[in-house]
Amino acid sequence: MSLTMVLVVGVLTGVGTYLVTSRVLSRIVLGFALLGHAAVLALTTAAGPAGDPPLADRSSPSDTSNPLPQALSLTAIVISFGLTLFLLALARRQHQLSGDDLVEDDLEDRRIAQDEHDR
């Protein structure tokens, strides 16, 4: 397991989580893109040491890298790509409705807070 990979995963996760906690939707979208990368990198790192490309008949099994996590990573990349697009569409709709791309206040929470305040 290479130290570089571990560090990259750590930094991506940190920055991604920071962005996701933001109130601006475009930052949340970027945050999830980074988090998705971090998770996929963690998956490939879990595969063990890198080696030759895992092609049948072209490399000996002892030198190849582990193909299973690579297949899993591909699937995960496709899924996170699609979900990023969906989030973007949702952010666009929010922009249409309210004119900004901030996460709105929770109305129910505000109502309860208002009741407390009035009392």
Binding site: A42, T45, L83, Q94, L97
Partner: protein, 505 residues
Amino acid sequence: MSALVSLCVVVPLLGAMITLGLRTVGRLRDVITLGSLAATSVMAIVLLVHVEANDTVVVRVGEWAPQLGIVLVADMFAVLVLGVAVLTITIVELFAMGQRRSASGADPTIVGPMLLVLTAGVTLSILTGDLFTLFVAFELMLVASYVLLTHQGRAGQVRSGMTYVVINLFASTLFLFGVAFVYAATGTVNMAELAERIPELSNGVRWGIGLWFLVVFGTKAAMFPLFSWLPDSYPTAPTTITAVFAGLLTKVGVYVMIRFHVLTEMDQLGPVILVIAGFTMLVGVAGALAQDDMKRILSFHIVSQIGYMLMGLGLFSVAGVAGAIIFIVHQIPVKTVLFLVGGLVETERGTSSLERAGGLIAKRPWIAALFALPALSLAGLPPFSGFVAKLALLDAGVADGSTIIVVAALVASALTSLSMVKIWLGVFWGSGDDHPEVALPERVGSGPGRLMFAATGAALALTLTIAVVAGPLWSMSERAATELLDGDVYVDTVLGDTVLEAGDS
């Protein structure tokens, strides 16, 4: 038989593909949607009967070795939940068809196909035998639920949909990290292999993996303290969609939690899960008491009921897990029928707010009857299915000596009845609109149609059937729990005689 297992996933997906292509022909789309759901239900029931009489059915997709390829496993636990889940979705689709017929025009093209994708996600999550396919199945289910929740694009839906999407997306990312951790620790994602290898890991790593997946699955299952997204987002969706979500999504979360944590022998997490279960029950029901809208009350009850299932899991005994299983089976149709009644009330009165939808018992006694029976069942009164399920759990709790959780369960149960009474007083008794100065929204069409009543009645019949066949159901749940706790059967049937050479995995 093995073909049926794959078809349970493939048929709804095929139906979704076809209906997505048919953008204009309304009637044909309805027929195909309902047809593929009905076909899946029939297959699920055939599987249930077959597995009950014989043994677990294992399918190796593409004849790959189970360690490398995808395996689908239809064991007792899977087919029990599968049967009830698919039947419930079919009934909701019937209700939705009725609603579309009595409402004028506006027929969103996306709902049918997405409901089918959701079904495929649910069946795949239930049947899958490896952790990564489970991740994919969850995504399938969640993507469909994101679209169903927000497809109307109203302001409230986009706001609460955003919370829902962000929280579930975060949980999915954690899931993927979890898969990476598990793979790094054990070198496999196959559940049967995990059942053998995780108990051999060092104590710290086992705690880490167990807690990590408790958070991941717990977010989907809306357990305390990760439930805040649920009561916010569910009530904003259209009734039929809320009914499916309420009945299924959280239960699938609990289902995979039971499967993963029991198979990998995470007994040490028991006390943690029991504490969480107690808080989930009480906080959920307290939230329900504070609400004044039928759909919001019911949404908080989803959270509260999850606590009971967690209680069964936390006991890690055959009786406890069997109790949790029978609770899931009881809960899926009961929750759905309550939300469908909420839909009937809304169609009738134009609102589900307790203050404004009053006096329904005089005008529509049938709706009152359709509400009263499942509400009593939810509260756990005999002779309904809720009583059977709760009694099983309490029995298991007493046998285990966990008095505190038993007391918490009883208190939560009493409070549940109280909030059901609150709905009854608000919606069915009273004089109706106390605030005539606020005009009710335009009535949708001409009140609930016959098909909507029939569908709600069918869902109710399903819950009553569960109470009637409680005896056989209990022995099936016990068998399922025994198979899970004693993982050898599962491991042997899934892996069979396949042994990979050393260094090959």
